[in-house]
Symmetry: C2
Subunit: 253 residues, 2 copies
């Protein structure tokens, strides 16, 4: 099979910003990623080897290697020892990362809307205490929202937040995405565990989502943890399956 030998476009080798806060490996990774998305690096083409790439960029091999690793983890490149590094076939759609539905919609063309159905502080029962890792009886903020895109309902979002966050106001929640608010408070989400399933819509969900009675909904339960490893949020969501789905990219390690 003929492999495109990929004389890399000159744009990849523009000046690097060595003083700014952006890591060098990240700058390189971004440029390679753009080259792939723009079609300058077609699927199947081979990258230069790590040593040569480093010399041309004036970088050490570990730095170049780390840049490549970023894209391997994203599923855009594949490495083979003794062979080289190649671009994966199949066009990549921007993958969903650690973003909320609000972010997903906002980054697209559609503009999101929110209506707050419920906003109450309750005491943690056994189940909530378990998933959030707090004592039973601890104060918990319980909210329930309907998220829409272009005024069409997309999802019913039910969330439970631990005591540090019970003071989130109704106005903020009606106006902004939950993750947006958390970021603004300086609490960064680092890890999230999700379970994705499906079931029949309840009567209430049928009404809220404007779907047929007994129709299917896509469900997602998520526990999110901050940078100190403590649980920050438990969410039980259901989505209109004709308007939303999840994308996942898996990489063998």
């Amino acid at each position: 099979m003929k492999q495109a030998e990929s004389t890399l476009p000159g744009g990849l080798f523009m000046d690097l910003d060595r003083s700014g806060p952006v890591p060098l490996y990240f700058q390189i990774a971004s440029r390679i990623e753009n080259a792939i998305l723009e079609g300058d690096l077609p699927p199947g083409s081979r990258l230069e080897n790590e040593i040569a790439l480093g010399e041309r960029l004036g970088l050490s091999r570990p730095t170049v290697r780390r840049a490549i690793q970023e894209l391997v983890d994203k599923g855009m490149l594949v490495r083979r020892r003794g062979i080289g590094t190649q671009v994966v076939h199949g066009q990549v759609s921007r993958k969903v990362e650690l973003t909320s539905l609000y972010d997903d919609l906002a980054s697209g063309d559609r503009h999101p809307s929110t209506s707050l159905l419920l906003h109450e502080v309750i005491e943690a029962d056994a189940r909530i205490a378990e998933v959030l890792g707090v004592p039973v009886g601890d104060p918990i903020l319980h909210i329930r929202r309907v998220r829409g895109a272009d005024d069409v309902p997309v999802a019913v979002l039910e969330n439970y937040l631990p005591r540090d966050l019970v003071d989130l106001s109704e106005e903020d929640l009606a106006e902004h995405g939950l993750y947006q608010l958390l970021r603004a408070r300086g609490t960064m989400i680092r890890v999230a565990r999700q379970r994705i399933g499906a079931r029949r819509a309840s009567a209430e969900e049928t009404t809220l989502l404007e779907i047929d009675k007994g129709g299917p909904v896509l469900t997602m339960e998520r526990t999110a943890f901050d940078n100190s490893g403590r649980a920050i949020e438990f969410g039980s969501h259901c989505y209109r399956p004709d308007l939303y789905s999840f994308e996942v990219t898996l990489v063998d390690k």
Copy 2:
């Protein structure tokens, strides 16, 4: 908050196998992972800093760092600069990685079964040619199976395989999992892109899965790529939502 200072159990520091084929960073990562799963490293506890850990193990910092990174990527550890590395709260359920439904079931207590409904070689139409990255008209193996666990139907699996794999026999497919067969042929799957959604079951699926008419099914479409970046398989699957769901762990980078 009181942090367990985590005098690490002695088992972590047993002799390393420096001659064998298992990388040192992998050996360390495995031991830390076991310590977490066994409860020796409780949630919230801090690890020793990377330098000290390296000295006690007789390893350099990059090696220790890489071991820790493996577990960070798995969502089991969280790092904070200036602070240290801590164990994430919440018990981890064994993650689902790049495995097939067959592997998932077999690794549990249940024993999987397969019935082959369809096994034909067709010519690639525009859609299949697109997702597999082959010319229109190329020979494609089209199979359709029902996967059961303990004799209860769990999923309807429809797969399309490119020309290299059209010679998979009916006997093999009825007997083994698809990914099992691919591994046996030496083709390793490195990257997979999945889309997870939901919809109403078709009439045929209703019968095959023994569910109520018009009931919901969980759907997954997947394109898998081998270590040279070529598409190896396209699958369009639907699952009984009361018997199966997807787990995903996301890590912010």
